[in-house]
Structure formats: C-alpha cells, structure tokens
C-alpha cells in the first residue's frame, strides 16, 4: 500500500518508479498542505476571512490528494501489468534478463526517497520566509545576534537560493573634467562600514562602470555612428515623409501592382486609405522609413555574414551562438545599452532593430548556401570555376529563394521591433501605441495597432508575391 514505487524499483523499472514516486509525492504534498492550512486557520482564528479562505484551501487540497492517490494507483496497476507482460516476453527471448527482486535497487530507491521526501514535505508544511526577512536575518547574524536554527534553516534551504552578501562594495567611479577640461577617471572608495554586496549587484555595477568609461572616452565613435544613421535615415525619410501623399500613394500602388499583381495592389490601396483616413499617414511613413533603413543595414551586413557562416565551419561556430543570444535576449533588454551608448531617438532605435532583425538574414542566407547541392558545386569546379565565380554564378543564385525569405523575415521583424523602439523615442506608429498605453486610451491604441498590422501585411504581401511572380 505504501510504496508502489518501491515495488517498481525492486523490479528495476525506473520509468515506472518515477511515475509512481511522483504521483505519491503529489498526493503527499497535498496532504502536507492540508496540514499547513488547517494549522494556519487555528493560528489566525480571530480573523474570520482568513479562516474561511484557509478552510476552502484545505478542502480542495484534500480532494486533490485523494483523487491523485486513487487515480495514480489505478494507472500504476495497469502499467505494472503491462510491464510484467513485457518483462516476461523479454525473459523468454533472453534468459539473462534478471527477474525477481534485487536488493541493491531497494537501496537506491530508499536513497532517493530519503533525499527528496522529508525536505519536500517540510517545505510544504511551512510558510517560506521572503527575501527581505532573510536579508535582515543575515545582517542580524553579522551583528552577532542570536537567530534560532529553524529560522536559519528556513532561509537557507526552503527560501530563495541564498545569494550571500560577501563581496565588499566596489569603488564608485565617475568621470569629471580636470582643470584643462579633459575627462579623468575618479574613484571614490565606499563608506567605511558599507554593507557587502552580492554577485549580481557587484557585476551590474561593474558593467555600468565599463559602459560609462566607453561612452566617455570613445564617445566620438558612437557619435559618428549616430551621425551616419541619422544622415541615412533623413535621406530615406525625406522620400517617404517629404513627398506629398498623393505622389507616395501613387508610387506605392504602382510598385505593388508591378511587383505583385492587381489583387495585392488592391489590398495595398485599401490599407493606405485606412492609414490616411484615421490620421496615421505621417506616423506610418515615419515607421516605413525606419523599417527601410533597418532592413537595408540588416541586408548589407547580414548577407556577407550569412555567406561566411554558410561556407566556413569556423564562421558557423563563432556566429551561431551570437545569433542565438541576439534572438533570445528579450528585445527590451538591448534597448538599455542602446540608450547608454547612443542616447535616445531614432538612431539607437534603428540599432536595436538591426540587432533584433539581423539573425534571420544570416541564418537563412547560410541555410541557402549550405543547401546548394554538392554535385552542382562539383560540376562548376570541374568546368574551372574559381571561388568567386562559384559564389556568384552558382551558390548565390541557387540560394536566392532562401535569401529572399530572409529579407522578408527581416522586414517583418524590423517592423515589430520599430514599434517597441518607440519606447526610446524612435517615433512613428509605435509612439502612438506607447502613448495610448500610458494614458490607457484603449480605442486609440487599438486603431494604431490595426494600422501597424496592415502595414506589416502590406509589405509582406508585396515582397512574397514578388518572389512567387519572379519564379
């Protein structure tokens, strides 16, 4: 009755053991919770609303415990039966399969049980201390006050993982100007009795220091990049924003029609009318120019990078983890360094967008290059192609569909990031959305959101249809 998992362990089926063990644990944990909440209800007997709440929880945990236990046992019985048949069949083929009970397995099962169950049950019967309590407790210990063993144990084992404040606070670093007007590094040691810090605080402080150092002493570099980006953007923006709307609409319709056919042109027309009628025209064109600038940069840098990754093992080994990081770090996170280095406005917005949108370009280009059949490349070599000819006449043309898919991805991702980049002042449609978010103007935000979606679909349809039509 007690240990179906012990039976499974004896028989050497660890999958069944895990199942039975976990089921019994869930049941046991629920029982422990019942105990915990009924105790809590007695402790807080004077507060009626708490007692009611705890009693509700007690009831539901009792039901869950019974249900899990009963259903788990039925399932276990069924699985054990199947396992027995399978084991018997195996034994008929191979007589070395061990049957019956083996004592060493009982030991392992007992060890697992002893390691997991007491701690888990203890944890569920207690209210875990919060972080602040534990920090206070650490300080108290440092001052030499008496803390009971139970309180220490609760903080170290069942609370948050103890981060231990053991590193002395780092120097504060500032970069004032000296008498000649040059920047210097000034270190201020911490107060004499400043409390120690933990790893997180220490490292983030150091990162801030380095960013500060780089921005102060190599600021001209970032200013240069900002200048280039701003110039590029203003050129593109003057096309989209500076052109009177009738001309822009006409040109966009013509391009859509030429590249992707009449139906797409109709869709583009309808979307443009929506944007114009709801007063999003300027913002939409602003966003468009941001997207175009970001996508251009992505393609210009992503294509050669993708070729390198596709052709060289080392390139792949270096770039792939970088791309993984670029894609998985939440987009808000690199808005921060973008502000740190480039302050706020459109240029850092574009840079953040480029970081976000570049990976698919590199990946898909590399994929396309790698997918070129080996024998086609061999044939080109057999006819005397040099590496450059191989690339331009065989590999790139054959990788083109994949590269075009990459460009499409880049545009879509740029658009989504440009909206987020409005948080650091990139402007455009995203600005309307963030403004609406701040003032909880649901209707306005929704209309702008639809506008962004239409913008995205418009670009996507035209680029994709253009692909299909060409092939």
């Amino acid at each position: 009755m007690v240990g179906s998992f012990i039976w499974a362990a004896l028989r050497g089926n660890w999958l069944l053991f895990t199942f039975a063990f976990v089921v019994d644990l869930i049941a046991a944990v629920n029982v422990a919770l019942v105990y915990k909440y009924s105790n809590a209800a007695i402790d807080n007997a004077e507060k009626a609303f708490l007692v009611e709440r705890y009693e509700n929880w007690t009831d539901s945990h009792t039901i869950v415990a019974v249900l899990v236990f009963v259903i788990g046992r039925i399932l276990f019985g069924w699985m054990a039966d199947r396992f027995y048949v399978a084991q018997y069949n195996k034994w008929r083929v191979d007589h070395t399969v061990r049957s019956g009970v083996v004592l060493s397995r009982l030991l392992i099962a007992g060890l697992i049980f002893a390691l997991i169950v007491p701690l888990l049950i203890y944890r569920t019967t207690q209210f875990a201390p919060d972080n602040r309590t534990c920090i206070k407790q650490t300080r108290a210990i440092a001052k030499g006050e008496v803390v009971t063993f139970k309180e220490r144990f609760d903080c170290f084992i069942i609370g948050e993982f103890p981060t231990l404040f053991w590193i002395s606070r780092p120097d504060e670093i500032t970069y004032p100007r000296d008498d000649l007007g040059n920047r210097i590094v000034k270190r201020t040691p911490p107060r004499a009795n400043a409390p120690p810090v933990n790893l997180n605080i220490y490292v983030s402080q150091r990162i801030d220091d380095s960013i500060g150092y780089v921005t102060v002493f190599y600021g001209f570099l970032f200013d240069g990049i900002t200048g280039i980006l701003r110039g590029m953007l203003s050129a593109i923006a003057s096309v989209f924003v500076g052109t009177p709307w009738p001309i822009t609409i006409g040109v966009l319709l013509f391009v859509a029609h030429k590249m992707a056919g009449r139906r797409t042109a109709l869709f583009v027309g309808a979307s443009l009318v929506y944007l114009a009628l709801f007063g999003f025209w300027q913002s939409a064109m602003d966003t468009m120019s941001l997207v175009v600038a970001a996508s251009l940069i992505c393609v210009v840098f992503g294509l050669p990078l993708g070729i390198w990754v596709g052709k060289s093992k080392r390139g792949q080994a270096i770039i792939t983890p970088v791309l993984d990081v670029m894609q998985t770090i939440p987009s808000f996170v690199y808005l921060l360094p973008a502000i740190a280095f480039f302050s706020i406005g459109k240029p850092p917005g574009i840079l953040a967008t480029v970081i976000f949108a570049m990976p698919p370009m590199v990946r898909l280009t590399a994929l396309g290059i790698r997918q070129v059949p080996k024998n086609t490349k061999e044939a080109a070599l057999a006819f005397g192609a040099n590496p450059k000819q191989l690339l331009t006449k065989v590999e790139l043309p054959l990788a083109l569909p994949s590269i075009m898919a990459g460009i499409n991805q880049v545009i879509m991702m740029s658009l989504s990031m440009v909206v987020v980049a409005a948080l650091i002042g990139a402007g455009g449609m995203g600005y309307i959305v963030t403004e609406a978010l701040e003032n909880t103007e649901t209707g306005r935000g929704l209309l702008a959101g639809i506008g962004i979606a239409l913008l995205a679909m418009m670009i996507d349809r035209v680029v994709q249809r253009a692909n299909v039509v060409r092939r």
Partner: protein
Amino acid sequence: MSDSAKIHTIETHNVWKIFGSRSEEALQAIERDQLSKAEVLEQYQAVVGVRDVSISVGEGEIFCIMGLSGSGKSTLVRHINRLIEPTGGEIFINGINVGDLNAEELRILRADKIGMVFQNMALLPHRTVRDNIAFALELRNVDAFTRAEVADRVTSLVSLQGYGDRYPSELSGGMQQRVGLARAMAADPDILLMDEPFSALDPLIRRGLQDEFLELSKTMKKTTLFITHDLDEAIRMGTRIAIMKDGAIVQTGTPEEIVTQPADDYVSDFVAGISKLKLVYAHTVMEPIEKYKAGKGKLPPIKDCAVAHPDDDLDTLIGLAIDQNNPTIIMSDDNPVGVVTKDALLLGVQGGS
C-alpha cells in the same frame, strides 16, 4: 609503335586514395605490411578508395572503367581533373603532371582540356539550356556573342535544336543528360570524363544516347574516360575496359579479351551472362587450316563452303553456317587461313575457345 614510346593522353601511375584523417600513415602501413581494406579501416579509421591504380588512355580512345558501386571508379575519375587529391601516385595529362599545377593552371586545365558529364546531370536550374551549355565558356570570360554561337552549334550536335531557351526542369531526363553532354563538349576539350552518364536513364533512352555518343565520338575523336557499373554498356562503348574491385583494377583489356579470357573468378562471374555473339571474332574461334587438315583430312572445295573474314563476329558466322553442312572457311587476302566448324561456333557462343 611500341606502347611505352608514345605519350598517352591520360596516364596514372600508382594512384592511391585513402579517406580519413590518418590517410598518410595508413598508406605507409599498407605499403609496409600489405594490409587489407578491412584492416586499414580497423587500425586507421581510414577507407581505401583507390588502390594502386595505373592506367593509360591513348588519344581518341574510349576507355571504360567498370565496377560495382563502392569500387572506387567515381573516385578514380575525379583524380584526373584533381577534384580529389590523390594520397599517393601521379596523374599525367598529355605528359603534364596534374599534381604540379597551381590553382590557376588547374582551372585553365579544367576549363580548356577536360569536359565532365555527371550521373545526376548537375545542371544549373536557374539557367536556360543555352546558358548551361555555355557555362564553361562563361567561366573563361568568353564574350556573349561567341558563347551563344558555340552553344547553338553544340545544341544541334546533341539534337536539342529549339530547346535553347528552356530551363532544365522543363526537359526530360534524357534531354537533360544531352545538355550535360553538350556542356562538356562546348569548350571543345580534348578529354571527356563521363561519370556514369547514362545510368539514371531508362533502358531505351540509354541505348539511344549510347548510340548517339558513339556516333559523335567517331567524328569528334575525343579521348574519353567512361565510368559505368554496367558491363553491357562498357562492352558497347569501350575500346578498352578496366574492371575495378575494392579500389583496385582487376583486369584491363579489350572487350573481347575480357569476355574470352577473364583474369579471375570475379571477372568471369561478370562475363558469364554476356552474349558473345558480337564480341568474339572468327580469328578467335577458327582452327588454323594446317591443324584442320591434320585432324580431319581434306578441306572441302571452297566453292561449296561459306566464306568469311577473320574480323567477322560470331553472329555473322552463325548466319553463314545455317543450312550449310560444310565448315566455314576464313579467308584473309584471298588466302584461306582457318576453318570454323559448327562445334567451334557452339563453343564460341558458350564462351570457351
């Protein structure tokens, strides 16, 4: 003219290819200890692709390399234009050591001297038939006008007129391989390397293309290295045949030599199912006239006998022997040189001679 005196178009001297990171060591060990293929794999994690191959192909010859898959024939042919670097040995083309060429010289050799046809065609799907054919010329920076001219000429050579502006995917397998052939010939190379060119095609189309290729090579006189896994094809196409097994050449010879004097059991197993009718000639099965007279006595009068030439094949001789009781007399320059009896004919068909 003695064989050693003339420069062969293609020559390989003791070419070895061993795949694996420890190929050099493995080669030394093989030469020292005479390891077998399995031992090399076990001790050096290396695979022997080509084992001590020396062949020489004369100008205008169609030299067939026949072997089952995995015998190293495709690997061997890729050594000729150094798509694969040999682990040991040397390769000469028109007396020039291919291993000594630098990258640029090698590209020139590949573009000018050697055309290659692949089993899977390996055409460029984004280019029209014309641009595919002119690919080798384009790589050599020949101007567009000349390219189009040459492409059109070669297109008609492989009877693909009117298909110049189509894309490879619009053509059937047989037509695609014609494009492959045309592409190999467009740069007018001296040497054609054909790596199982017709293997992926169905039998009827294969036969048609074989015939067409034979016709073409009669007029073009290109030295051809023809890889195949099909002995019938090797016999139809080849002036000489080399049979490969496990990376090594088992036997080299004319089709007739291979069929009538197989070097070992492996070759005779292959040859067993081959029809000898078109392969065995009168001079092989005939009995010299003196020997016939010594055994059977007098020769019947020539006017009562069928008469044939020493180079007539069994098929012809059988045609002559039907409805004829007397043996067939073989005449060379109006002189009787031998006699073919029906017994000799039957033995010839069976393969013994």
